[in-house]
């Protein structure tokens, strides 16, 4: 059994395994599948409730993941953002002394959510420049 608290290293090892099989494209193809089959709730929330749906979705997941974050919903200006001060997933991986995280681990947060939100008309931006410190920022902008 793999506990849900052990999922992140299993995820990171899966990315490494896929890359060894078929290069980075194999990993990207997997992320594309996950965004289709594993993020139905985000799609449903964003379709039904707009940016508030994003707020609802991440309120659930980030609290369960014990993340350290500031999440802002500005419906008047069509903006939703997450400032991730310490990502629980990347933080966990960086803290392991006996394993090395997949080199492009954080890229999955770019592809997964972009694939769900952009077809709905949103602009999705992610700043991964601080990802080596387990920090990032996501901004979702509603269509004009």
């Amino acid at each position: 059994m793999i506990s849900c608290t052990e999922f992140i290293p299993a995820y990171s090892e899966l990315f490494k395994f896929l890359e060894a099989k078929g290069g980075k494209q194999a990993v990207v193809d997997y992320w594309a599948t996950i965004s289709k089959d594993g993020l139905a709730l985000l799609k449903e929330e964003a379709t039904r409730n707009g940016l508030r749906g994003c707020y609802n979705y991440w309120s659930h997941t980030l609290n369960e993941e014990a993340a350290d974050f500031t999440m802002t919903l500005d419906e008047e200006n069509g903006l939703f953002s997450i400032e991730m001060h310490e990502c629980p997933s990347k933080g966990l991986l960086l803290n392991f002394e006996h394993l090395t995280p997949y080199s492009d681990y954080c890229d999955h947060c770019d592809i997964l959510y972009r694939n769900v939100l952009e077809p709905l008309g949103y602009t999705y931006d992610i700043d991964l420049s601080q990802s080596d410190k387990a920090a990032c920022k996501i901004t979702v902008t509603a269509p004009k």
Partner: protein, 156 residues
Amino acid sequence: MEKMVRHASDNKYLHRDFHGILNLGIEYLQEQYGDDAVIEYLQEYTRVFHKPLIDAVKADGLSAIQKYFERIFEIEEVEEDILFEMGVDTLTIVISKCPALSHMKKTNITPAAMFIETTRTIGLTLAEETGLSYELVTYDEATGASIQKFIGKADK
């Protein structure tokens, strides 16, 4: 404008939906790369991620495996769903409900055909890496209820 500010210490780390994402990964591997890829991936995962457990089993024997399972079931808040029988050179682990399958059932996710390997391959690999024998005596694919045995004396 609404703002939510949280610190890591505000919540317990327990995102059960990860069970469903793991299931998707197993399903994807099997569909795209075949049965052997699922086994190879789980073997590799066990050797890498469970290195500290492998070392602990080599140092302390079967009790390290029991401690590991006790800790995981406590974290998953299902301590009542696991029992242990420690005999002479045999650890029997009786699981009445697997927390992964319980959550998938609750969220209407169909377990991957090879989800059993997250129990069997991990058990077999852990045994291989420590010089033990392993047997998955029973496994219920709907609930994950199982009886597993680790047998022998671990390599020092």
